[in-house]
Symmetry: C2
């Protein structure tokens, strides 16, 4: 991305680079973007309040979207490592990976702290 010529008049002193690199902002944005969807938040919440595994059919029943959509969001959360599943015959049982959620929480918190 080529920057335009700076202003000629002295409105201000030029800033240094952001502490947050473009790559770091991209990564943090991806984390936040993953969490930033109501269905995914509800899935995480449902899984978080059950110590045992939860069958997909129960998630479908608790959520206001159809089966392929639930499956899609489960995939995104699984690919991000926040949840995992175990297949037992026909059924799939999902569970939250609390250590991954805790790590994500810690990362977000660390970044948010620098903004306050």
């Amino acid at each position: 991305m080529n920057k335009p010529a700076p202003h000629q008049s002295g409105c201000c002193t030029p800033l240094g680079a952001s502490r947050l690199s473009a790559e770091a902002a991209q990564a943090l944005g991806a984390d936040l973007g993953l969490l930033g969807h109501p269905i995914r938040l509800q899935i995480l919440d449902l899984l978080a309040q059950h110590t045992d595994q939860v069958c997909v059919c129960d998630l479908e029943a608790a959520l206001p979207v159809k089966q392929p959509t639930v499956s899609h969001h489960l995939r995104l959360l699984r690919e991000a490592g926040l949840i995992d599943c175990e297949r037992k015959g026909l059924w799939a049982y999902y569970f939250i990976r609390r250590e991954a959620v805790a790590a994500l929480r810690a990362r977000l918190l660390a970044q948010l702290d620098t903004l306050v």
Copy 2:
């Protein structure tokens, strides 16, 4: 959204409702979605590391997008109350509203804690 008939076979015990209501999930998702963009994160970071106000032209110089795009993201952040600005003649000086960021941080933290 009409739910399909539940399975006939006993794969599991039906879940109760999520602790996170659909509305709460929507609101939390909006908060996260606002933060979940690299340019907005960089803007917040740039403003956060300066105690004084920052001229728009400096933000433009520090970001890899063009002027209207910067203006667009500044508007979203301002409408969310996370930043504000003061116009001085031709120039606009933006600043972070640390108490609003802190409130957002607290809200996110409270919700994330229930997931761990």
